[in-house]
Symmetry: C2
Subunit: 552 residues, 2 copies
């Protein structure tokens, strides 16, 4: 009878344990979990603090007892693995409840220890008002002080996906929330002009943002709170501070095991999720995965990949070698108040940093037919390879239908599809759900037009330099739109009048054309090009993107 030992009882570990049992009734399965809870809904924790989820039991998907009944596995909570001995195939375990130490043997060992929030070396950060949110006990502690009404102001350090989910949920409890982020934007995974839309939503909902800022010291205040001093000299008082600046792998106990770890302590695995040591496998937040665009290894601590890895690790352990884990492209989404912010694949920022050839386009369009009530604007940025025409990534920000477009693009990337394929996707259309040409088709058409040479596009951040060099700025929106606000220096000729006013345009200067979102600008570009103004450029995403980016 094979004996499987699993270290870590949350997403990847429990997913693997269940699969191992379904594959074989006869094996012995032991799960060691140092905490009190297994299989809990870690992605739901902020919403429990925000009272969106009201029943704490909803967060507890399995208990050791329920898992035993269903999957006949021995789940040992409060049992912490402290050393692995590949040469004798054992693990040293501390029973945290009794204080006893014991050695457990295995035939196959699966490492799914997960990660823990990074605590920065900021002086004063051990103050009891300064918390991280990762586990059920973390959640209970934070919720208790929120519930007892003692928090008037909260400070979230780190404006990543989880930090913003926390900021929202604490704000929803009526608490003043400030976010301090060291980058010039929140959600550093996305491009700045997309993050700018998120900044607007945060501010609209009363969140104060300090960007390009760090906390240099926390000082205790009488009465229980802290004073955070920022690099700029600003001072913020808060009764609750949430640190959300990253996650480090819980792999300290592997230091002397001979198991290969990456530079930041993550476990190195192959495509079958095998470590360098025989019969030892790993999955979840503690491993390094391959980025399919750069080919580089990195950590991508996300629940979806962790669950999928757990299943594949189980298959490998069971001897099913037909499945591989080929990489993680970091598809993510977060709700930020009413907004959804989604990303899949490579951003422009990433392509630049990795010297990956790319082009990018932005479009704004209704998430369903604009004539059907309730249509809201989607901002959609696509990156693609100019040589292969393949889709590299997408970022979508909007109020409805964001997740759908991200999932479609993630599927297209998985299928190695091109921008031409995007134009041909036969989506489900009825007015409550989409338009006859879905935003996915539209962004494909725009990319296709660029690659086919029908239009030259210019990015929002290239406008000012081009104008400084003498470019002519042409606003092709209606007079009413122009009068309500335009880019400084722009001349207005509505697209529908352009054919009759061509003589007003300079032949010897580059012409930067813009409209609200890019559609009329494209038509105007085609008119100008046909009339010999070949040095013209359409502003990608129109003035909507330009304006959003300039309010960073």
């Amino acid at each position: 009878m094979a004996k499987y030992l699993i270290i870590g009882g949350v997403a990847a570990g429990m997913s693997a344990a269940a699969r191992l049992r379904r594959l074989d009734e006869t094996t012995e399965i032991i799960v060691l979990e140092r905490g009190e809870y297994v299989s809990y809904a870690n992605c739901g924790l902020p919403y429990y603090i925000g009272n969106e989820i009201t029943d704490r039991d909803e967060l507890l998907l399995q208990t050791p007892q329920s898992f035993k009944r269903r999957f006949n596995a021995d789940v040992r909570i409060h049992n912490e693995a402290v050393a692995v001995h590949p040469e004798r195939k054992t693990v040293t375990v501390n029973n945290l409840r009794t204080g006893e130490q014991y050695e457990e043997s295995y035939d196959s060992l699966l490492l799914t220890p997960g990660g823990s929030p990074v605590k920065p070396a900021i002086p004063g950060s051990r103050h009891p008002a300064i918390k991280t949110l990762w586990t059920i006990p973390d959640t209970d502690a934070i919720k208790a002080i929120v519930d007892n009404g003692s928090v008037r102001k909260a400070l979230v350090v780190g404006g990543g996906f989880i930090g913003l989910e926390m900021a929202e949920n604490i704000r929803l409890r009526g608490i003043e929330v400030t976010v301090v982020e060291m980058a010039p934007q929140v959600m550093n995974a996305i491009d700045p002009e997309m993050a700018a839309i998120v900044h607007g939503e945060l501010r609209k909902n009363g969140i104060e943002l300090f960007l390009n800022e760090t906390v240099t010291v926390f000082e205790p205040l009488p009465g229980g709170g802290v004073l955070a001093r920022l690099g700029s000299g600003a001072r913020l008082e808060a009764e609750l501070v949430l640190l959300s600046i990253g996650v480090a792998p819980n792999t300290g106990f592997l230091a002397d095991s001979g198991i290969e770890l990456g530079a930041r302590g993550h476990i190195i695995v192959d495509q079958h999720l095998r470590t360098n040591q025989p019969d030892i496998y790993a999955a979840g937040d503690a491993i390094e995965v391959i980025n399919p665009f750069s080919g580089k290894r990195g950590a991508v601590p996300l629940a979806g990949p962790a669950n999928k890895q757990g299943r594949i690790a189980a298959d490998t352990i069971h001897g099913i070698m037909t499945r591989c884990y080929t990489g993680t492209m970091g598809t993510s989404i977060a709700k930020v108040f009413d907004l959804a912010v989604g990303i899949t694949g490579a951003t422009e920022k990433f392509c630049r940093a990795e010297s990956i050839p790319y082009r990018s386009v932005i479009n704004h369009s209704g998430h369903h037919a604009e004539y059907y009530p309730g249509a809201t604007m989607l901002s959609f940025k696509l990156t693609f390879c100019p040589e292969t025409r393949r889709v590299l990534g997408a970022q979508v920000v909007g109020y409805e239908g964001v997740d759908k477009r991200i999932d479609v693009i993630a599927t297209a990337i998985k299928g190695g599809m091109t921008v031409d394929d995007l134009t041909e996707i036969e989506h489900a259309y009825a007015p409550p759900y989409s338009s006859a040409k879905d935003p996915v088709n539209m962004i494909g058409f725009i990319a296709q037009n660029i690659l086919d040479g029908l239009v030259q596009s210019i990015s929002y951040d290239a406008v000012a330099p081009a104008v400084a060099e003498g470019a002519y700025l042409l606003d092709v929106r209606s007079l009413g739109e122009f009068l309500a606000g335009t880019i400084a220096g722009a001349v207005n000729i509505p697209v529908d009048m352009l054919r009759r006013k061509l003589s007003k345009l300079p032949k010897d200067r580059p012409i930067l054309i813009f409209c609200k979102v890019g559609v009329r600008g494209y038509i105007a570009s085609r008119i100008l090009t046909a009339h010999g103004f070949t040095n013209c450029f359409n502003l990608s995403g129109g003035i909507d993107t330009y304006n959003a980016a300039s309010t960073m």
Copy 2:
């Protein structure tokens, strides 16, 4: 200067006209439209009658004047093409306003005449209370009598996608609605057990359904209504009857043109949307397209394909031959009250009819994390090829997130992806949008388990025959669920007690295992298989699908 003539000014025709202008400023573009309106929102018409869309102008996306200004095309409404003369490259046109007839020449001719609702040869069906809904004037006429309060009861003949959209919108106006459908189910494009869920939603919202029924005669009633007599002898009175039994192509005027038409009058085109006549092209509802699964030609009158075809036809006319229209797989969605019903690709019904090798599975799961508030159930049926493992089609019914899963599967089919690929799609996960394993991943896992031989599944409609042959019915849900109702003759052993009660099970009979949706049944199947009960089968979709199907 090339002269392009387009016959038909709605989706495909106007899409082509706009693209032709963007490709070339110098050409002459004439659009002939026999009706009064061009580019109207035909998919929105039912919602205008239902007062969901309240501003009639919202339905009118372009006028001849606005299109002229934007795209410099000569759009002639009330101008009906009555004959095409390929040999002299002209079209005979009736000006319906003046009664004059003229001949218009072309260099390239695009046929986008669309279709019209089929009017069945039912005696009495010329009565003024009997309408079809296809155009703006149709809509105005129907809305007028609904608005004036004279309709107490309405009858919709034909329970397809459009028929049900109409039924809903009329019902929302407080009118009693009956739907008469000649098939045993509404929405004949989907499989019966999925349609059964729609039947429930319709009845819940007060729609009376007559299935397997036809109207044999309409008799005028004093006061303006009609009496419809059904084949069964039933009699229905209504002040408004909407016929929605199909669409025929408007191609009568091509009869003597030499342009090849299909058996039902649709225009035959190649992948570049060229007809058999030189310089004559066609797109939209009036053409036959290839079904990518059967390879057969057929008509698929949908707005998405029409728009995409219009653009490709324009490219062909302009000489861009790199784009093809490769077929239509009939991706569709309809809102039926709060329910969304979506389909893409091949159904089980279709695979059977076309002798395409297939397997199918059904799953029910929350449209997002079940612990996050507002999760609703998605019913998801997947068809796939047992040899290539490729995805063939999907049907999804539910309250939220239906369109997303259909679009993802449509993209996967477009990319030639397999059920294994579905398990690996890296979707956007946060609790408000999905689960760590999305329903798309889950249905992939289930299909994979079947193809890998881990579980044998049985369809709801095979249960009764198997039981009659002596199969043992095992309900693995909890005792409480069992007591609240089960399949007649089933024995209850909850999955968590199964390992201890194996001795109660017969070794010599097939065992049909079921739970609510199929997940516990799968675990039970694995337990039984491991203990030598190899002749066991898990009910696909569980008792939820079984019960839905038995209320057809």
